[in-house]
């Protein structure tokens, strides 16, 4: 089975090559033209094909196996002992599936809303998809770093070219924040390379490191990952980036790029510097709780819907980091596995829900050209079907049981109660605060009398919008009602991880 041996390469390069071809064929700014139509059909075909390949990955993935699967390892730069080394386990597989699942939806959403250089726009998303999958699949630190940094470029362009009025400020902020964070990541990799003689991540994990070295490496990792998550107080780039990004950009940013941070902690920080992680666990827990409580309050007062959802994302990502870093607060392992699983589920679920929320705002924006809550009111009167979707996603965002939003939060709350009553106390405030900021927005946007002529003229969802939101709604409900398949995908890997992290390197 030649095909299966290169599955991950196909997943990475299919969209990248597809995107490059789109750029090569060139653009047609007339959205109605045949050529533009061909371009977006091609973009959709590539993204759907990538998704189908990832389905093969899911089917072929062995839940019970420990270690990496679908491994590819070829020499890349022999003189430096760098490898083109790919593989997936239960931690990266769900995130790769999330990426391939969301990207076609983004292509459909942007179908004819992008008037300016549509082919390049679609190409940027396809290339971005490949690079993100590359991050999740890379097992060689240098390869990881290349994908990690390369990923910034398409996103930089998406916001910078197709963004809103203050897009230059937002892109610079986004780029500098994430880039500065990542530079130290490279330094840490080089140090580890010097210690082990290769960029093999497993080599890093096995390398004996002093506590002092682990602390420094942890801080270097932290700067890179905390910015991506984003954690308080390095979060302020996110609301700005979201506000200026086009709808598709926001969806990818919230749904997948934010997961890079959480993934980095799980894949690199915890296993490579377990003692360093333990040393800083208290601080990480504190920052996570601040993210949940402080950011939720901030979200409450937002006037711009995209900012509100961006802040909501930060608060929800607090669950991820909390779930990961309560690992050392238990006597046994059960709480640790529950916490990490909760954090992982939260990442996937947040990908679906926040993506859907940004799509909802996009639907509104396409009609009224405003993101201000005050510009709306009574939308449910003119767009009842849309309102039903938005209420569903808002409820999911408030963590209603039966939706995916509940699953991870529940697990993290239960695990953190075991760790410390007060962790659970503070983190559970999201039940109140999350519902408050989300549903208050729903009240002001959807309910009430029709607020103005623009709202009165709004047309309900077209079939494309309906399809995308329906697909997301069904996934949110399925994951909420039956999360077992997702959890089974991860559980062996997470148990292994907890066991590995529990072994001190000192």
């Amino acid at each position: 089975m030649e095909f299966l041996q290169h599955l991950l390469s196909i997943l990475i390069w299919l969209p990248i090559v597809g995107g490059a071809l789109l750029i090569a064929i060139g653009d047609d700014n007339d959205v109605a033209s045949r050529r533009a139509g061909l371009m977006r059909t091609a973009a959709l075909a590539v993204s759907v094909a990538t998704f189908l390949v990832s389905v093969v990955l899911y089917v072929g993935f062995d839940n019970a196996a420990t270690g990496m699967q679908f491994v590819e390892k070829n020499a890349w730069i022999s003189s430096l002992n760098v490898f083109y080394y790919l593989g997936v386990d239960g931690i990266s597989a769900p995130l790769i599936l999330l990426t391939t699942f969301i990207t076609p939806l983004v292509v459909i959403t942007s179908w004819n809303t992008i008037k300016n250089r549509p082919a390049q726009y679609f190409a940027a998303f396809l290339i971005l998809e490949g690079l993100m999958i590359g991050v999740f699949a890379a097992l060689d630190a240098l390869l990881f770093y290349v994908f990690w940094e390369a990923m910034l470029i398409p996103m930089f362009l998406i916001i910078g070219v197709w963004g809103g009025k203050r897009r230059i400020y937002a892109t610079l902020k986004f780029f500098l924040y994430t880039f500065l964070g990542s530079v130290l990541l490279l330094v840490a990799f080089i140090y580890l390379y010097a210690q082990t003689g290769s960029f093999d991540l497993f080599g890093f994990m096995d390398a004996p490191l002093t506590l002092a070295a682990q602390k420094w490496i942890f801080i270097a990792f932290l700067l890179a990952f905390a910015v991506k998550v984003p954690m308080w107080p390095v979060h302020t780039w996110l609301p700005d980036a979201h506000v200026e990004a086009p709808t598709g950009g926001s969806v990818i940013l919230a749904a997948i790029m934010l997961k890079m941070g959480g993934y980095g902690f799980v894949r690199l920080s915890l296993p490579i510097v377990p003692d360093g992680s333990e040393y800083f666990a208290g601080m990480m827990i504190a920052l996570s709780l601040i993210a949940v409580v402080y950011i939720s309050f901030v979200a409450l007062m937002q006037k711009d819907m995209k900012k509100l959802i961006a802040y909501s994302s930060i608060a929800h990502m607090g669950f991820v980091t909390l779930g990961l870093f309560i690992l050392w607060s238990f006597d046994g392992t059960s709480g640790a596995v529950l916490g990490i699983t909760g954090g992982m589920v939260q990442m996937v679920s947040h990908g679906l829900i926040s993506g859907a929320m940004f799509l909802c705002v996009g639907v509104l924006y396409d009609r009224v050209h405003s993101r201000e809550i005050a510009a709306y009111g009574g939308v449910a009167n003119t767009m009842p079907i849309f309102a039903a979707f938005m209420v569903l996603f808002s409820m999911a965002n408030s963590g209603l049981p039966g939706t995916s939003g509940f699953v991870g939060e529940f697990m993290v709350i239960v695990a953190s109660f075991k760790a410390n009553f007060w962790y659970a106390f503070f983190v559970a405030t999201i039940l109140i605060l999350g519902a408050a900021y989300t549903l208050w927005m729903v009240k002001r946007v959807l309910y009430g009398e029709v607020a103005n002529d623009k709202v009165a003229a709004m047309k309900d969802l077209n079939s494309r919008e309906f399809m995308v939101l329906a697909i997301l709604a069904i996934s949110v409900l399925i994951l909420g009602l039956w999360p077992a398949p997702l959890i089974d995908l991860m559980s062996v890997t997470i148990e292994q991880l907890v066991e590995q992290v529990g072994r001190t390197k000192l």
């Binding site: 302020t236 937002q302 209603l400 039966g402 529940f410 009240k443 309910y447």
Partner: protein, 656 residues
């Protein structure tokens, strides 16, 4: 029976999905038929289940339906525990729901959201059944939140109405405050037992009670007390106990059928049900029981008082509901779980009846809800009148009615529950429920007299159209009036004294006030009835009715003068003890203030202004300084080079 249970739960869900997604296509009539069929099937099968339990001797069943997730030994499942407690709740829920479904055909006839409404109430029935039939905490929480969701959707059903969409947000958020406690309680259960399954948790109850948890360093609390109080905070939200009661009166902004179904008969009793279900836990913490009884007492008495000054027909009944829920909570705190559930059942019938009757009056008067604009309706609406009378008499505990049996024995149980030697708590509770009887009679019959008797205060236009409502409205009234009147007679014996609940409710020896005290003097329904005339309960109720008659029919001038004379007390009651202000001006406004502060001062000023953009500016300024050096003139560079060389050489020569 497995297929029965699945059908009972899924029939309303399927109906809700059909009416909700395809309502427009299948039309109005088909929508109400499909939902009525769904709930009807559930109701009939629930009655079969109850019959099998009661007469057929069927035991309780604990069945797993599917595994939700398994993480490192923690099994999270969806499943059913059907025992005698559950069976009773299933019948109450599906029967009242069925009545409300039928009634809705008449009440919502002209509403454009007809199909949506039927979809919601069927969905509610599904959620409520999931809640009561659950065999684990996870599914309980699912049902708990799902009924909250439907309640939110239904209170805001008329989504153009500003008061309605304010009320539904308020209801959801106040409930979430309760759920905050509830989920922490569930987390506590998992921490100490490693399981979410009722059976496992209950069987390890003793070990929880034997452990301590240090919430505050140096102050160990009993784990069971902490867990039970946290769980009870959830019950306080859902069952609207003070101070989390503020959402219930406002929820009256929703259509009347759901006030009957959700905010009187079923959802608000979920908290009562939950505590009874958790009796194996609560019984092991007398501290938690004391908290329960105190909160219940406060709610029972003080919320009843508010009913006296309300003028909106539905709000009077809403405060009555609060007060009656307080009664049930007091019974829970006194370990008289069966009395609480028994009162829950009779209350479900007569309170649903009262709401639906009020709705009948409201539609007859073209959506007028102010009782000051009613009066003398008796002769126009005889069926509504007589059924309302039945409901009101049952509410005040008129001898022989269903409410009489449940309330009288509830009060007796509280009176006899000396168990913990907590004198003050016990006296507060007993006084509250006793004096509450007078208050109940007063507000109930104030409303009854003002609506049905006395001067006709509506305008002439309304009066010409005033007539009895159609059969779809009156038939449910009659069908609810029958159990309200008579169900107490033949159920009180078996339910309270015949050990109906068996092992579905657990009472620690020494706490069992009904089995150990009341049973000794129990001589059948008739005995209780003859005995009733000599109890203070009866005379308090009778004097309440009399005072209502005197003040509101005979001498209506007196309440008006009292209003001005005792304006302080009147204002206190009229403003509902300022609880709304506490929540809205206190917590809600406070939260927004904190949010504004953290956003403007924290994010914008400190982080973005000072740290991020400040760094950028500092870099810019530094670069500005550095740029001065890069002049582009050769002599500048040459000069710098010479200085550099000099410095380097001097260092090499002298300092090394």
């Amino acid at each position: 029976m497995y297929s029965y249970y699945l059908t009972i739960v899924l029939a309303p869900l399927a109906a809700a999905i059909v009416a909700g997604l395809a309502g427009k296509q299948i039309g109005r009539a088909a929508s109400h038929w499909v939902t009525i069929a769904g709930v009807g099937i559930s109701c009939i099968l629930s009655l079969v289940v109850l019959k099998n339990m009661f007469w057929g001797g069927a035991g309780s069943e604990n069945i797993s339906v599917y595994t939700w997730a398994v993480i490192d030994g923690l099994h999270m499942e969806v499943g059913f525990l059907v025992d005698r407690l559950t069976a009773l709740m299933m019948c109450v829920v599906t029967f009242v729901s069925l009545m409300v479904h039928i009634y809705t055909i008449g009440y919502m006839r002209e509403d454009p959201g007809y199909q949506r409404f039927f979809s919601y109430i069927s969905l509610f029935t599904f959620a409520m059944l999931m809640l009561v039939m659950s065999n684990n905490f996870l599914q309980l929480f699912f049902g708990w939140e799902a009924v909250g969701l439907v309640s939110y959707l239904l209170i805001g059903f008329w989504l153009k109405k500003e008061t309605a969409i304010f009320a539904n947000l308020k209801a959801f958020l106040v409930n979430r405050v309760g759920d905050f406690g509830f989920i922490l309680g569930i987390a506590g259960v998992v921490m100490f037992t490693g399981s979410l399954d009722y059976a496992t948790v209950f069987s390890s109850a003793d070990s929880i009670a034997a452990q301590n948890i240090e919430v505050f360093p140096g102050a160990p609390w009993n784990a069971m007390t902490l867990i039970c109080i946290l769980l009870f905070i959830g019950a306080m939200g859902k069952s609207a106990q003070a101070p989390l009661h503020v959402w219930l009166p406002d929820s009256m902004e929703g259509p009347t059928p759901i006030s009957a179904l959700i905010h009187a008969a079923t959802m608000v009793t979920a908290g009562i049900f939950m505590v009874a279900r958790m009796s194996p836990l609560f019984e092991l913490s007398t501290t938690a029981l004391a908290v329960v009884i105190v909160i219940g007492s406060i709610t029972a008495f003080f919320m009843g008082l508010l009913g006296i000054v309300q003028n909106d027909i539905k709000r009077v009944i809403a405060y009555s509901t609060l007060s009656q829920l307080g009664y049930m909570t007091v019974a829970l705190g006194a370990s008289a779980y069966s009395a609480a559930i028994f009162h829950l059942m009779t209350h479900a019938f007569f309170k649903a009846l009262l709401f639906l009757a009020a709705g009948s009056v409201i539609i007859a008067l073209h959506h007028e809800q102010d009782i000051r604009k009613m009066g003398g309706i008796r002769k126009y609406m005889p069926i509504t009148y007589w059924t309302s009378l039945v409901g009101s008499l049952a509410l005040i505990g008129f001898p022989g009615s269903s409410g009489f049996f449940s309330k009288d024995l509830l009060i007796e149980a509280v009176k006899d529950s000396h168990w913990q030697g907590q004198g003050a708590v016990y006296w507060i509770a007993y006084l509250s429920v006793l004096l509450g009887v007078f208050v109940t009679a007063l507000y109930s019959f104030r409303m009854f007299f003002l609506v049905f008797h006395g001067k006709e205060r509506m305008d002439a236009e309304t009066k010409t159209h005033l007539h009895e409502t159609p059969a779809v409205v009156t038939v449910p009234l009659i069908l609810l009036a029958i159990p309200s009147a008579i169900i107490g007679w033949f159920t009180v014996g078996p339910v309270l004294f015949g050990d109906y609940f068996g092992d579905s409710v657990f009472v620690v020896a020494g706490h069992d006030v009904i089995g150990e005290h009341l049973a000794a003097t129990w001589h059948g329904s008739l005995g209780l009835l003859t005995h009733a005339l000599m109890t203070p309960v009866f005379w308090l109720a009778a004097s309440g009715v009399f005072v209502a008659w005197f003040l509101y029919l005979k001498r209506p001038d007196i309440p008006e003068t009292m209003k001005t004379k005792f304006s302080g007390i009147y204002n206190l009651l009229d403003r509902k003890y300022y609880f709304d202000d506490l929540w809205i001006k206190g917590f809600a406004a406070g939260g927004r203030g904190i949010g504004q502060f953290l956003w403007q001062k924290g994010d914008e000023l400190l982080i973005d202004g000072l740290m991020v953009n400040g760094t950028a500016k500092a870099v810019g300024r530094m670069a500005g300084v550095m740029r001065q050096i890069q002049t582009g003139y050769l002599y500048t560079y040459a000069f710098a080079m010479i200085i550099g060389l000099t410095a380097l050489l001097s260092w090499l020569i002298w300092l090394r």
